[in-house]
């Protein structure tokens, strides 16, 4: 083994929450030395993900990822977090992979390394000059995780550390189903008691909780929890979850959210029906699904057709709470921008335009998630109705989509903070 002094690679902080930024620094290199910074992650389902950037050390022999230019790799430019958001499956991996942390009680481990020269492949076969291991957590210390099986409702409730009580959130993912905890545990780490709701198992329409009352019960469970403030509860939904969010805000007589966040939303829901109805309409229009040259399914056009039908629209003029609508302009899965346009229009016409805040991002796709996670333009998806797994086209280009995730998360937290945490009276009592 070489007996020369290795460079010193440091990543700060070495343990962080997934929405926090990192400083990656390499020191003790020869000056003007071309090197490759590389990140590697082995997912829970045992796939490997990597990213890399090409750098040249300065006259002091230093590379600072937060300040220096990457001139090549999976990301270019001055990108302090490029080693995370530009990650993609290593060559030879299966197609259509998506990276999602299912067990939030353990961190994601990333190996950050520095290699000699400008390398583009074969990282695992070479020995780096130096490497460091970092932990990225979806859960802050002290956050409580509670399994919920109550009133027929299934999910996981995350409570922030401290005595509380805390504002609450009902958190719903989309048509892929299953129980995804990571956004809720992160929201709890940011001060909100958040309930990750499971409303159907992946690909199993039969298991789907179809009745509206299921969602109202879920909201009540949050409301009734001793550590939640009963009149400070919001709803957070993505995709199908945000359809439920809009529907609850508009139609429920029981559920009164204080505010809602809808990512890649739609305002379509066949009246008088339940979730089954939603899928029925989609099945009826499935001939409009466009399959692109890569064999990827884009549902956008089908969505456009569906929302043309006015009777399918939710009566959003009945909504009485602030709504934050987050959309990607390259959403290939659903015409969520057109939907957001209509929602804003309808609410404006009803004199409620100031309740709507819109965030829309160019070259951004459907899956707008917490920041610094990889971008998925197309991934394997088991549809609720179809028996097969297709590769669903979500849209977006990596760099703009990642910027959108970073910007929207910050704004979402600020929106929630403002509506759920703001002082009740302006008068100060000391």
């Amino acid at each position: 083994m070489s007996q020369t002094v290795p460079p010193v690679l440091s990543v700060h902080p070495s343990r962080s929450l997934v929405d926090e930024k990192l400083k990656v620094l390499v020191e003790n290199l020869p000056p003007g030395s071309p090197v490759t910074l590389h990140s590697l992650h082995r997912s829970e389902d045992e796939h490997y993900w990597e990213a890399y950037g090409h750098y040249v050390s300065d006259h002091r022999g230093i590379v600072s990822v937060a300040e220096d230019l990457s001139v090549g790799g999976t990301y270019t430019g001055i990108e302090s977090m490029g080693l995370l958001w530009s990650m993609r499956p290593v060559p030879g991996s299966r197609k259509g992979l998506r990276l999602r942390k299912m067990n939030v009680r353990s961190p994601m481990l990333f190996n950050i390394s520095v290699y000699n020269g400008l390398i583009t492949e074969g990282f695992r076969e070479q020995t780096p000059l130096a490497s460091a291991l970092i932990e990225r957590w979806y859960m802050a210390p002290g956050v409580q995780r509670i399994d919920i099986r109550e009133k027929g409702v299934r999910g996981t409730l995350f409570i922030p550390p401290g005595p509380g009580p805390f504002p609450g959130l009902l958190d719903m993912w989309g048509g892929g189903g299953g129980l995804l905890e990571y956004r809720s545990s992160l929201l709890a780490s940011r001060g909100f008691a958040s309930f990750a709701l499971e409303y159907f198992n992946s690909g199993e329409l039969e298991s789907a909780e179809l009745e509206f009352s299921y969602f109202e019960n879920a909201f009540s469970i949050v409301k009734d929890h001793p550590q939640v403030i009963p009149d400070k509860i919001g709803i957070f939904g993505l995709s199908l979850g945000s359809i439920m969010t809009v529907y609850l805000a508009a139609e429920s007589t029981i559920v009164k959210p204080l505010c809602c966040v809808c990512v890649s939303a739609s305002h379509f829901y066949p009246p008088g029906k339940n979730l089954h109805g939603v899928f029925e309409v989609m099945t009826m229009n499935s001939h409009m699904i466009r399959v692109d040259e890569n064999g990827h399914h884009a549902w956008r056009d089908m969505g456009l057709e569906i929302i043309k039908e006015p009777s399918n629209r939710i009566n959003v003029e009945k909504i009485n709470c602030p709504m934050l609508l987050v959309n990607g302009l390259d959403d290939q899965n659903w015409p969520s921008v057109e939907c957001a346009d209509e929602i804003a229009q309808i609410m404006s016409a009803a004199g409620k335009g100031d309740l709507v805040t819109r965030l829309h991002y160019p070259d951004t796709g459907h899956l707008i998630e917490p920041p610094f996670s990889p971008h998925f333009r197309a991934t394997k998806f088991k549809t609720a109705t179809g028996k097969q797994k297709v590769i669903m086209l979500w849209g977006g280009q990596t760099k703009p989509h990642s910027d959108a995730q970073e910007d929207s998360w910050r704004k979402i937290l600020s929106f929630l903070q403002h509506h759920l945490y703001s002082r009740e009276t302006p008068k100060a009592r000391m």
């Binding site: 070489s2 002094v5 690679l9 343990r15 003790n28 460091a132 210390p141 401290g162 403030i229």
Partner: protein, 437 residues
């Protein structure tokens, strides 16, 4: 319960940090001018409870930032970013003479940071705070490997930084209390040094044979480090505190086997009986035990045992023969060893011998004997059991808490820079610099 309470937001960044990293504590969403107490609580591994607190007044924007705003009272005052950790003290009613030392480095120190209404000084732990968070403080970074070492009859633990290496090495020695103390080595490995914590007073071999180890034990430790495939054999330093300094100085000057790249000596002395075995050093102390003083509180002061510093050169390590850089760290209020006097004498010897360019002395007013990595509580005195007498006595270490804590922070930073420059530097032109240390 007042429903307005929920408004208060407390954040501590990072929520998981290394023991020597700073954190930023902020409170938001309180009324302007609101008086509050920020409180830290920790239950250590041996079950004792510790607390610290500062009194603050919120700004016009209804916020407090501990890094920028002064504490108006509590266990610390003034602008003290890390006051909530270094001013921790045992809760009222605790046994006297406690010292906080984390023996298990594989778990973090968990601290609860809370906000209470008003400027309060007692009974905080029994109240419900307005808000609180949990912070983890780690001695070991992710990826650092902990390797127990038993070869050559050693009782030691090697901590290897993450990565392929090879890494410069550090041989890490504590003082007269003995035991295998790992936390400083774990932290050094988290900063890129392959560090071996060595138990030399109570190792398995001494327990079994009842004999104090000789110089060969240390040379074996050096060899194990030198020959380790992930250690750069030509870049090994030694770091000693208290009695560990005596060993370090002796070996760095006289050992034929050890070729140290540099040495760090904290709170120690070069005064030793000639011949130089560890056993003889301990005997020398026993013989001078008559010079022990006791203060009004009944605390034992041992600094006079080696005083006056002898003028006879054969009674001290001849530091004029030292060939590697030496960093001396001394607390001017050290009540346990005459470290400041020894440092002055060493400086004179080296100036006479012409090698004083190798010497750096860091001397801290009002700092005591136990100069450790930063942000843990200061013990001005504590229960201590010397290895040979096996009696538990209350020993005075010295130091005034705020000054001592500042000294720890400064000394640790400079120790890391010293080790980095001497162990990592020197080969690449222009390639020595410091990171965010």
């Amino acid at each position: 319960m007042d429903r307005k309470q929920y408004c208060v937001k407390l954040s501590v960044q990072p929520s998981r940090g290394l023991m020597d990293e700073k954190f930023i504590v902020q409170v938001h969403n309180v009324p302007p001018g609101f008086q509050l107490t920020i409180h830290a609580f920790h239950k250590c591994d041996d079950g004792h409870s510790w607390e610290a607190f500062g009194h603050y007044t919120a700004s016009a924007a209804g916020a407090v930032n501990v890094s920028e705003d002064p504490s108006l009272g509590g266990t610390y005052s003034g602008v003290e970013q890390m006051g909530l950790l270094w001013s921790l003290r045992p809760v009222p009613g605790s046994k006297p003479g406690l010292r906080m030392r984390k023996m298990n480095v594989q778990t973090p120190m968990e601290v609860s940071i809370s906000v209470y209404q008003g400027h309060q000084t007692e009974g905080l732990v029994d109240q419900v705070p307005l808000t609180s968070v949990v912070v983890e403080r780690w001695y070991i970074a992710p990826g650092v490997r902990r390797v127990p070492i038993t070869e050559g009859g050693l009782t030691a633990t090697l901590f290897l930084p993450s990565g392929p290496g090879p890494f410069p090495g550090v041989l890490d020695l504590w003082g007269g209390g003995g035991k295998l103390v790992e936390y400083r080595s774990a932290l050094l490995a988290s900063h890129g040094f392959a560090s071996m914590a060595l138990d030399y007073l109570t190792p398995k071999i001494t327990i079994e044979t009842k004999k104090i180890v000789d110089n060969q034990y240390f040379e074996t430790a050096y060899r194990v480090l030198e020959q380790h495939p992930q250690v750069l054999g030509s870049r090994i330093a030694m770091l000693g505190l208290s009695l560990g300094t005596s060993v370090t100085l002796k070996l760095s000057v006289y050992s034929q086997v050890m070729k140290l790249r540099c040495a760090v000596c904290i709170s120690g002395s070069h005064v030793q009986p000639p011949g130089g075995s560890l056993e003889q050093v301990l005997t020398c102390f026993r013989e001078n035990a008559g010079k022990t003083r006791i203060n009004e509180e009944g605390h034992i002061i041992w600094r006079d045992l080696l005083l006056p510093i002898p003028t006879d050169p054969t009674l001290k390590v001849d530091v004029g023969q030292l060939q590697c850089p030496l960093l001396l760290v001394v607390g001017e209020d050290d009540q346990n060893w005459p470290a400041p006097e020894s440092a002055m004498d060493m400086k004179e010897m080296m100036e006479k011998a012409g090698n004083s360019h190798l010497l750096t002395v860091l001397s801290y007013p009002n700092a005591g004997h136990l100069i450790e990595p930063p942000y843990t509580p200061h013990a001005r005195f504590s229960k201590f059991m010397t290895v040979d007498t096996r009696q538990k006595v209350m020993v005075l270490w010295g130091g005034e808490t705020a000054a001592h804590s500042r000294a720890q922070e400064d000394a640790w930073r400079k120790t890391l820079i010293f080790l980095r420059e001497n162990l990592y530097g020197g080969t690449n032109p222009g390639a020595t610099s410091v990171s965010h240390l």
